[in-house]
């Protein structure tokens, strides 16, 4: 190895040492000492030279000689061998490297101190380490009361085992986590949506949590319900549903018994047609109602106010506007179908709702006419009654005939072919109960009217809100004007929904818009 020689212009007198931590305090004046400070920043300057003792032949004591660089000084060393020109000590200055090191240590110390302070005080700790706002469902007074009832911690500890512990507990929980901190293999191979320890905390309160299908695989609550996302717990996304419904293999296993359910990715793309259409379901109601006639029939009388009958007269939204109130005869039908059975007496109408009441009413007609005469303050009450009864006898024969025709007759065979006027009148035909209802005869011979079965909601598990669809005309979804048969289910096909609920339509088309994962009853709870 060749000896490294300094460059010809190397100034050994003013050699700078930029890699050292301290520089001479006089360096800024241009006369730094040659020795410089030591590693700890102490000035090493003593004197201008270090005299040496030279003994000439024949001398015993010898003589001290100056060794000052640049030539001996005038005075020379002192008798004790020390230099006569001591150098005043300087205050060495730390280099930028030292300042940087100090700043680094300060930042590390400050970081540790801040973290220890914030982690040491539970109220601060919870706010500091929380990765986001907790939902209302899991915070506030209501949750605190619920947690107290379930003997749970009312803060982070309600869900997290480390939530109620200090730094030691956090480290301990981290080390005991499954998969472990350094268990990269398990982290990479953890089952998707697998149930984890934290689900145990969910079930402490949500004891009745069940899935929408009994054979659905157990998945972690946190897979769909991500916490720390804001005051409202994060909405379930299509990706959550797609975990099963977007996976052909999983769906084939889960629903193998009923032929499998098709894989669904997006509502507009591969969502199957509604079942009531594919299975050609029919409305089982025994009531006979012709939507087309009521909406488009030329013989339809005007409403008392002169308006034309429309959907909104019978189908009125509930208080929330989400669904329609049930159609009620007294409110929606009687305005036209007054059940007047005596052409000459429009004030007298049949009761509705019970075949027994109708029978009782018909069998007490003399009393009904007498009450009517009293109301009208007829001078000859008995004569009034006899006159009315005679009229009925003339038209229907006996009282039994009248009752039979009231119950069983239809349009072609009713108590009266037409009551009131069709054009401009306020009363419609009353051909008989059987015109609208299924009327049977009991073994005792009494008439029995099948109660109409009108479900308040079709597709009950699905979510729907009429109030959000008020920009549409009823007929855009419900093809009532062409429906002549009660058995028609007047719900729209999927294509009508896709027009808007699709990327092209621009309206949200997420699964959760219509579907609920858990059982409806539990959701309501």
């Amino acid at each position: 190895m060749s000896e490294q020689l300094p460059a010809p212009d190397f100034d050994a007198q003013n050699y700078a040492r930029p890699n050292q931590n301290w520089i001479c305090g006089r360096a800024c004046e241009g006369n730094a000492c040659r020795q410089g400070p030591d590693a700890k920043g102490r000035c090493c300057a003593t004197a201008e030279c270090k005299p040496v003792l030279k003994t000439q032949p024949g001398e015993t004591k010898g003589r001290w000689h100056c060794t000052r660089p640049g030539g001996e000084c005038e005075s020379g060393p002192l008798p004790d061998g020390s230099c006569c020109r001591p150098i005043a000590k300087c205050s060495p200055v730390p280099t930028l490297r030292v300042w940087r090191g100090r700043m680094t240590l300060a930042v590390i110390a400050a970081s540790c101190a801040v973290l220890l302070v914030l982690l040491g005080k539970p109220p601060w700790r919870n706010n500091f380490i929380s990765p986001g706002e907790i939902s209302r469902a899991h915070s506030g007074e209501a949750f605190a009361a619920l947690a107290a009832n379930n003997l749970l911690n009312q803060n982070c500890g309600a869900c997290h085992v480390a939530g109620n512990s200090g730094p030691h507990g956090m480290v301990s929980a981290a080390l005991r986590a499954e998969p472990g901190i350094l268990d990269l293999k398990k982290l990479a191979n953890a089952p998707a949506a697998g149930v984890t320890a934290i689900d145990g905390a969910c079930i402490k309160c949500h004891v009745t949590k069940t899935f929408h299908q009994p054979d659905a695989p157990m998945i972690s609550c946190t897979y769909c319900h991500a916490e720390h996302q804001g005051l409202v717990i994060a909405a379930t996304t299509d990706a959550n549903c797609g975990f099963c419904h977007g996976d052909a293999a999983r769906m084939a296993v889960t629903h193998a018994d009923n032929g499998g359910i098709p894989v669904i990715h997006h509502f507009a793309d591969d969502h199957p047609q509604f079942r009531f259409i594919t299975e050609k379901r029919r409305d089982p109601d025994t009531l006979k109602f012709n939507h087309a006639l009521h909406l488009t029939g030329t013989t339809m009388p005007k409403l008392p106010g002169g308006e034309k009958l429309d959907c909104a007269f019978c189908h009125q939204p509930d208080a929330a506007g989400a669904f329609m109130r049930p159609v009620v005869f007294e409110r929606h039908c009687r305005v036209c179908h007054s059940l007047q059975f005596d052409p000459a007496t429009p004030q007298l109408t049949l009761p509705h709702g019970s075949a027994e009441f109708v029978s009782a009413f018909l069998r007490s007609l003399p009393k009904q006419y007498a009450d009517l005469a009293a109301q009208q303050k007829s001078p000859d009450e008995n004569g009034f009654v006899q006159q009315k009864l005679a009229g009925l006898r003339t038209q229907f024969g006996s009282g039994e005939d009248l009752e039979r025709r009231v119950f069983f007759s239809t349009a072609t065979f009713g108590p009266e072919a037409q009551i009131g006027t069709v054009s401009g009148g306020t009363r419609a035909l009353f051909p008989g109960c059987a015109y609208c209802h299924e009327v049977k005869t009991t073994t005792a011979g009494a008439p029995q009217i099948s109660a109409p079965v009108m479900p308040e909601r079709w597709l009950a598990p699905a979510k729907f809100n009429h109030a959000k669809h008020t920009n549409l005309a009823c007929a855009q979804c419900h093809d009532a004007v062409h429906s002549k048969d009660t058995a028609d289910i007047l719900l729209p096909a999927m294509a009508a929904c896709v027009v808007c609920h699709s990327p092209r339509g621009g309206v949200v088309d997420a699964c959760a818009t219509c579907h609920t994962f858990h059982h409806v009853a539990l959701v309501a709870r």
């Binding site: 520089i23 480290v171 990269l184 982290l187 990479a188 984890t196 320890a197």
Partner: protein
């Protein structure tokens, strides 16, 4: 220059390939792996560890760990790739909560200071080379002191005998030579202060006799030297000061990251 361009091309190419690969893996596995965030976190931490080790490498020159130049290139391009890893780890969302926001800001500050440092180290040496010779930063105070003494001798020395120069020195030159001046203006490559002082010296020249003009010429030369010295100091200091942000915050980031690892596992779904 050819070597530098080759390094730039290879580094950029590697960075683009790694970024595309990482984004492809993210698209493929982000939903499929339930503990994806943990995995990306470890990858990010490993990258940060390698980046931090560059500083250790500089302090361990005796170990056969490869050339520092190679480490610097790795540090630069891995630093840029770490930004991609950071965004992937965040799933391209803004962090929430005090701790995570602080951690993210530390990362942003460390990265930003690194980018500033890279910009400085790519541009300032070239500017330094075009303005005077090489000046060792540690010797600048001594050189400045020398110029100051020389100016004082010229203006106030026993043979000066010029009241206008003495007065000008007292009012304008003494503060100028007293210490480093115009740090920000030098960084911005502005010569306005030098030109202003030179113009004042020119004005002074009109009222001076021949002997004084000679001195004023020498003082003007000293002023230019002092300004050049300040320029070198400003640019060399900038080359050193960015590390005052980059390195301390890096260690702060590591402290917060260590706690972050404890917290995410301690509060994970699998914590027991």
């Amino acid at each position: 220059m050819i070597r530098f361009r080759r390094q730039l091309f290879l580094g950029t190419f590697a960075l683009i390939v790694a970024t595309v690969g990482a984004l492809w893996l993210h698209a493929k596995f982000s939903r499929a792996l339930p503990d994806y965030a943990f995995l990306t976190g470890w990858v990010l931490f490993a990258a940060m560890f390698v980046l931090t080790f560059f500083n250790a490498r500089k302090k361990l020159p005796f170990l056969p760990l490869g050339k520092a130049e190679t480490w610097l290139q790795i540090h630069i391009y891995l630093g840029f790739f770490t930004v991609v890893l950071f965004l992937i780890h965040l799933n391209f969302r803004a962090p929430h909560g005090w701790f995570e926001v602080t951690l993210a800001w530390l990362f942003v500050l460390v990265t930003a200071s690194g980018v500033v440092g890279l910009f400085f180290s790519r541009t300032l040496p070239r500017r330094l080379a075009t303005r005077g010779g090489e000046v060792i930063f540690e010797k600048i105070p001594a050189l400045r002191h020398m110029l100051k003494t020389e100016a004082e001798n010229l203006a106030l020395g026993a043979d000066a005998k010029s009241p206008i120069i003495a007065e000008f020195h007292t009012q304008r030159l003494a503060p100028f030579f007293a210490g480093p001046k115009n740090f920000w203006l030098h960084l911005a490559e502005s010569r306005r202060p030098l030109n202003a002082l030179a113009a004042e010296l020119d004005d002074l020249r009109r009222f001076a006799n021949d002997a004084e003009r000679e001195k004023i010429g020498k003082l003007a030369a000293l002023v230019r030297q002092k300004d050049g010295l300040d320029y070198h100091r400003a640019l060399q200091l900038a080359l050193k000061l960015w590390l005052f942000v980059h390195i301390p915050l890096t260690y702060g980031l590591l402290v917060f990251t260590a706690l972050h690892i404890v917290l995410v596992f301690g509060f994970s779904g699998g914590a027991r």
